[in-house]
Amino acid sequence: MNDADLAFSNVASLQALMTKGAVSSLELTELYLDRLEKYGPVYNAVVTIVHERARAEARRADRERAAGRVRGPLHGVPYGVKDLLAARGAPTTWGAAPYRNQHFDFDATVVRRLGHAGAVLLAKLAMVELAGGFGYNDADASLTGPGKTPWNTAFWSGGSSSGSGAAVAAGLVAFAIGSETSGSILFPATSCGVTGLRPTYGRVSRHGAMALCWTLDKLGPMTRSAADAELVLRAIAGADPSDETAVARPFATVRGRRPRIGILAKSTQKTMPAVKANFEKSLAVLAGFCDLVPDVALPDHPYDAAVGTIVNAEGASAFRALIESGRARELRSADDRTGGYVAYATLAVDYIDAQRQRRQMIASFEQAFGRYDAIVSPTLSTVAYPIGAPFDKTYPKYPGVVSLISPGNLTGVPALGFPNGFGDNGLPTGIALLGRPFCEAKLTQIARGYQARTDFHRKRPPIPVVTSEAR
């Protein structure tokens, strides 16, 4: 196995190699550190590489393995986190210039739990500034510049977990942690052709993570397979005294029958032709081991208005000090420099009405979707957006008609996005499964079945040309 094969291996394969003694955690760590240094700048994917911490954690993992102590499936496996998670010894920039020198002297609960699982922290990965809370409208909205998808660097890696998606896709880390308020895991997972798991609200502690919206924020894995996503989720899930929303719940699976999947009605209308074609091929694969029910309608609610209002109101509160200081001017995106003031002016009655709507949304979701193990749709209506063009001027023919991203986030249910083919400009397309609360393992079970029958998740992007400037 050569270095590239190692770098693109999934977590289970890396663990097997370390168990056999074919490679050590320190060797893996050095391999990924080198790739982060070499390729990270090509994709604007990295904020800070924590070399010494990584080597120390890898040496510890190797020492423990030599002494017969293996903590679990992530023992010795190197990973990265979105730079909204606190980690000792490195700045935590939230992707934004006003916080460029911010340091925390503790590890976020997710980082701490991954450490307890034996994983090795390599890097803080790039993100859209403030996780996109102030309303960016183009890719150049990060302290570290526009994230680039490894599949075609003229196109955006998606946001706001841009670096997490790109780093996994390019084999710069074995897995990464992203966050989602409304689409920030699923969007870059699709644009980068990786698997992204947005857990149920409350499944994973947010302690030590930047808050954008307390009632929407979730942390979750971005990986090279659904099996990896479940391994990582199990390591980071659970109750936490430092986050009262985090709870311990079992992982339900489908047993003794075929999974039952509802196909979201109208989900391929006004999508790119490749998105539609790949989705239909995916349904044919799923039909081989699942029962599919067509035309399952999304309950009618004002999802986009509600999620926009909640992001505005909670985001303005979370960043009130920044807004009132006038330092929003230091943000990279022109839209972000004004968006905080727009959010600040959100009416309290609108915010409360949005939260009143959510109670109805949750009830009607259960009524409409409760009999299914998953609802399936294309993740996005298009491939990745080009860098340098405003989003609202891009792909005007393919706005989509219906999407599960806002509804799923408002109702707090889990979703799993994974690659299902390629479209325009060699860019990946994606498919998403939406599940019932705390049923992430049913989604990974279905996706594992899909990935056992396809190889899109094993495809590798082209090797980038590294210029001296990029290094």
């Binding site: 609200y201 004002p302 986009d304 208005a305 209002t309 009416l347 609108d350």
Partner: protein
Amino acid sequence: MRNRKDFLAAVTASAALALAAKAQAGAGPSAPPNATPSAVPKAQSPSAAALAVAVAMRRFDSKLSDREIETIARGIDDNAKAGGALNPRKKRLRNWDEPVTTFAVESE
């Protein structure tokens, strides 16, 4: 006054007129403040009420240009439209419908 937005419009309209005349036209639409991008229809000139609120943001950043003020005002108008969509025809939410306060998801 039918509602608070009308009241706001009435008390601030006069203050905004001078700025509205001065504000530059044709600034591009800003994306909604969502965590992922989405397209919004191109806005017309912002309302006087929104302009007045936008001007008030200069207390936080005195360097906000007229163009930026107009962009903020358009966003505030978009907020108002979203607010209207939250309870269409005032039929969806009844008086006793409570908000989610402590948000929690129940398992099956």
